[in-house]
Symmetry: C2
Subunit: 236 residues, 2 copies
């Protein structure tokens, strides 16, 4: 763990859903605001679980290039019957679909990003579309230097085009970019492209009743409890 | 002038070179810092005048897709003999080429953007590449919500793909986007795509000795002396 690299990263590229924002409680809260009887926890988990399969349909060529806002709607439409949401109006469905734009950051995030920004370029590297990520940043006060998205590269993570694309955008070698994420698979894919990696513990990503394993993986450059701890490790 | 639109803009998309930052004095200063004998004014005008022809070579297909950083270098290489810069080292040439990353904003910009950001999404819509615009924002403290660039759309302004692309990214109709620029041709192209337009006076864009015409054009939605005046007009 915390393998020393010869050179510090110039760019910190952040995974967003789960790493920066708490999607589980945000989605649960928004569906319950519309229909209090719905099991918000189960609904949030079901919506999120449709995410990877939907992106695979795009990357396999079954679907054309599709923004995450539209994939979210596709998945949501498929959950209506199961969760008894048939009576939602189209306006309510559209509002619910943009709940992903209004997710709150974890408590350490705004202060942590402000510290990290003093010595690094900080950007998103998310499969979320640019508009979604911009609205989320305004909602949560996230001080990104730049919003990078799958939409820029027309490929979703873990496609190498995304990790290598981030390095290319800033004109640096891949080892000068550090991916910051709460997901070991995302970090492993970035590492395979030569990026540095930082794992962030988000034990309650799937809800407080469903804690996930946040054990360190020795292959990561850094392992930090949260963004404040990462800032401390990087001397910010 | 100041044609009333039924709906206020949601997104303000800003041209950057000349509108947000003072390229003329920045480029003149940087070349003179390296070689004091060079006529900084003439050098800045010559470098900038290569910009439109270089982009036309890309859009005509003569050159493949090229980032502005690379077009800037191409133009710079062509100016070396004329301005007696043959003795610059490769490191000095690279440093000079990134002078565009270090341009200072006009004095009203940071405060004006902060006010406009309170009620609108504020983003760049520039032919400059994402890395250049990100470094410039960090250098000048520009509080963009999002950095949009020709690089995202793989087309340079005035291609309609850029203006319409900005509306699409944020999921709004073109008339809810206002292009803010100090150039009537840029604004005319945006208007042809259905965007609102705001002209900003930057009389000294080409240097204090070479003042440009900043007369209002009645076709623009807004005409403002600077960003603070625009903020006032938009109630920010």
């Amino acid at each position: 763990m915390n393998t020393p690299f010869s050179l510090p990263p110039k760019v910190l590229a952040f995974d967003v859903f789960g790493t920066v924002v708490d999607w589980h409680s945000g989605i649960a809260r928004e569906v319950q605001a519309l229909r209090p009887a719905v099991d918000g926890d189960a609904f949030a988990l079901a919506w999120r679980s449709g995410y990877q399969p939907a992106m695979r349909r795009v990357m396999s060529g079954e679907l054309g290039w599709t923004l995450i806002d539209d994939l979210h709607r596709l998945i949501l439409d498929g959950l209506v019957a199961r969760f008894g949401l048939e009576d939602l109006s189209e306006a309510e469905m559209q509002h619910l679909n943009t709940a992903w734009h209004r997710l709150d950051p974890w408590p350490d995030v705004v202060q942590g990003l402000a510290r990290l920004k003093t010595r690094h370029v900080i950007c998103t590297l998310s499969n979320g579309n640019i508009g979604l990520l911009t609205h989320m940043a305004k909602h949560g006060g996230l001080p990104w230097d730049c919003i990078l998205s799958a939409e820029v590269f027309r490929a979703y993570k873990p496609d190498p085009a995304t990790y290598l694309g981030a390095a290319k955008v800033f004109g640096v070698d891949p080892e000068r970019v550090m991916l910051v994420a709460a997901h070991q698979d995302d970090l492993a894919a970035a590492r395979a492209c030569g990026l540095q990696t930082a794992y962030i513990e988000r034990p309650a990503e799937f809800g407080a009743d469903n804690l996930k394993d946040v054990s360190p993986c020795p292959a990561n450059t850094r392992h930090a409890r949260d963004f404040l701890a990462l800032a401390g490790q990087l001397g910010c």
